[in-house]
Subunit: 252 residues, 2 copies
DNA sequence: CGTAAAATTGATTGGGATCAATGCGTGTGG
DNA sequence: CCACACGCATTGATCCCAATCAATTTTACG
């Protein structure tokens, strides 16, 4: 194995994969201690990004994937006319940048929605290491495969769901992600604006606002600015998926 | 390397990766001959699927990815109420099944739109082999990465584009795929029905039909049932992407 | 052929976009 | 500390694109 990466930023940062609370999530491995150490050695902890700063830009040469440690990122395309199209939000433990492998350039930009820290994982090192640790390679396949099936769910949402279902799906999706990393599934803060939610879901800002207001009136959620509390989780879950189709489908 | 797979169906099928015209596409490798031979040995050529037959079903245990050799497949989800949601169409040289790695089960069903032949690539063998051939591993990463960025383009299409742009994007996407495998980019046959196109694009059948009719009237394409000829490729390309936003954006 | 599925075409409706105005919170400089 | 401005969010009014409903026509197939 090649030498310890000299340029690491974390001489003062104590964090390491061994004692990182996210390690079971970002690459959920059953690795031997020595393997974790190897993995740990290729990872660089970067200086925090402030709100609005870029992690990488569309077109940049691909060299690393990044695991979010704290904060939130969004990824987006810029169309030929400068319009922004958000393709994803990334919470702690989630990997961003995987779509850059194919073309050797990032096909999207990644920007911090709030102060955000990431672990940089140089891909060439990761790939090399994955040759030595078959379970690591399998995990990378799994993470990418998961991303593909998640994105396909998103395609279903965009193609088939109405505004209520889109917003409900979005909130429940966030809820599940917070829950998985040990936070409350019913009470959390939205780090993105209504405009960004609308952009992501294919809805106008006004529609997002109206749906959220209506959900609150119907006592499905409680909202205070960016703070969200899901009051009636079962009803929200019923709303997601096929709710609006029940009538149509029932008579088939 | 482990033994030659005994259960192969291709004792009578002459096709092998070495002389398969698609080999440069399905896993575009620069492999040494002996590596190609190894890859060839794990691949099983399956009996052709007839129209309407399943390659695998949503929920089946994941064991293989498949390269389409001839014909076309669609993948789709079935919602809780039995509604079908098409998530992709697969032409020759394309790999299907990659989304099953994560959960060890296929999250979608795959069905033949016409008589279709595939190469079955048992994933455990592929993974094992990829440990021995780093460039193979890299290619698998690339194929998955490509799928992720393609799906994200599809998300943009579904979320932001109007009916004209969706249909034009769809036709140009097919055009590019045919071109890549050496067929005409301007003249081809749609193996899917209007209904399936609409399902995939998040449009009603009637809308698909109307858009296609209008494109024909405007001499962008010529249509005869399932036969499509793209007459004005530049105009179609202009239509895709941001065409309808030009006015809105221009005055910013 | 004859029948069913697929495709087309027309009429009407409706969900969400757009336009417009106002409210709210936050940071900034006088 | 307040006044102001600016971005973000909400709310209302109107409009339009595509869905839906409905009726044929065309194609595929046993």
């Amino acid at each position: 194995m090649s030498a310890h990466t000299q340029s690491r930023f974390n001489s003062t940062l104590t964090s390491q994969c061994q004692n990182c609370s996210l390690s079971a999530l970002c690459l959920p491995l059953a690795l031997a201690d020595e393997d974790i150490t190897k993995l740990d050695q290729i990872i660089e902890r970067k200086k925090p990004l402030k709100k609005g700063e870029f992690l990488f830009r569309q077109g940049d040469v691909f060299d690393s994937v990044y695991a979010v440690r704290s904060g939130t990122l969004k990824t987006f395309n810029i169309t030929a006319y400068g319009e922004e199209q958000i393709t994803g939000f990334y919470c702690p433990s989630e990997l961003v940048g995987l779509s850059g492998i194919d073309s050797n350039a990032y096909p999207v930009s990644a920007k911090a929605l709030e102060t955000t820290t990431v672990c940089e994982i140089p891909f060439s090192h990761l790939e090399e290491l994955s040759s030595q640790i078959p379970s690591l390679k399998h995990q990378i396949f799994k993470v990418m495969s998961r991303k593909i099936s998640d994105d396909q769910q998103m395609m279903v949402l965009l193609g088939k769901k109405n505004a209520d279902e889109k917003v409900a799906s979005f909130l429940l999706n966030l809820s599940n992600r917070f829950k998985k990393r040990g936070y409350s599934a019913t009470s959390f803060r939205l780090s993105m604006s209504r405009g960004e939610i609308g952009n992501y879901l294919g809805l106008a800002v006004e529609t997002v606002s109206r749906v959220i207001t209506r959900f609150q009136k119907n006592e499905l959620i409680h909202v205070d600015g960016k703070e969200i509390e899901i009051v009636d989780l079962p009803e929200m879950q019923k709303l997601v998926g096929v709710a609006s189709d029940c009538g149509k489908i029932a008579h088939i």
